[in-house]
Amino acid sequence: MGLTSKLGNMGIVTTRLEDTVNWGRTNAMWPMLFGLACCAIEMMSTQAANYDLSRFGMELMRPSPRQSDLMIVAGRVTRKMAPVLRQLYDQMPEPKWVISMGDCASCGGVFNNYAIVQGVDEIVPVDVYVAGCPPRPEQLIHGIVTLHERIKQERIVDWA
């Protein structure tokens, strides 16, 4: 049961606007190339051949915050880095989402000390937390799919 059978002869599909927009948002989400620590290496593994993040329309990592709409905070956030991270977040255009990857970004992890921000949610609002130290690529993909599911629930009334 493909799309073609629904098309009929006229080439017209009727659907809701919000579904179309959400579909577009989820399938061409550009993450920011923003590696901080160990988790960045697993993020690179996720990008690479074995796990192939491009299956989710994410093969293009943008180093510039202006061109990206998903920030994957991969690694521990230090107090020195925190203002930078916030500035990068502020530079991203709306709509934007944040995945906090790994224990350090989510809650400080094993580093409960003076240098590390105990959870990146103190700096930027986080949509999805991914546990693990570092999370396996499958876990990160699960986090991304969870985010996709969330975005698909968004309603047009909430955007206004």
């Binding site: 107090r79 809650c107 409960n112 000390n113 003076y114 240098a115 949610d121 103190e122 930027v124 609002p125």
Partner: protein
């Protein structure tokens, strides 16, 4: 070459400067006068038979609450003779200050900056003594023993709401 050779040579060259020689598990530590460290390092580098041409590491140690409170350890290594030596200076807890060895071993440059940053030991004659790891406006020197670790209460299920109330969540 045995490890005692270099130490005896150093003793002969600096009879008054060397305060103590310790050997522990094959590591030789020579404690020298803080005012003479640059001179001793130059001697170690340039004298034939010593030839410590490589400075591996400079480390600061805080012996709080002992006095002298701080130690700075220099790990020298000779690629020619394949032997190593630790020089150490002991510094008072109040305004610790030691000569910089950066003019002798440029490798010490950043390592001394790190010690300055994390332990608050001043290196006189250092070309660029700024904080290196912590932000420029940071208060205190984190590796000192009287500096708190900065522990925050960990959120468990039994105190979840309690901690959550105080957590400074970010806004959009």
């Amino acid at each position: 070459m045995t490890e005692t050779g270099p130490v005896e040579m150093l003793h002969a060259a600096f009879p008054d400067t060397i305060q103590d020689v310790q050997t522990f598990r094959g590591d030789v530590t020579v404690v020298v006068d803080a005012a003479q460290i640059a001179k001793v390092c130059t001697h170690c580098r340039d004298t034939k038979g010593l030839d410590y041409n490589f400075l591996s590491d400079v480390t600061g140690i805080d012996y709080f609450p002992q006095e002298p409170r701080f130690g700075v350890a220099y790990h020298l290594y000779s690629m020619i003779h394949n032997h190593s030596l630790r020089l150490k200076v002991l510094l008072p807890g109040d305004a610790p200050e030691v000569q910089s060895v950066t003019p002798v071993f440029p490798a010490a440059n950043w390592q001394e900056r790190e010690i300055f940053d994390l332990l608050g030991i001043t290196f006189t004659g250092h070309p660029d003594l700024r904080r290196i790891l912590m932000p420029q406006g940071w208060d205190g020197h984190p590796l000192r023993k009287d500096y708190p670790l900065g522990y925050e209460t960990v959120q468990f299920s039994f105190n979840y709401d309690d901690v959550d109330k105080h957590k400074p969540y970010a806004k959009e």
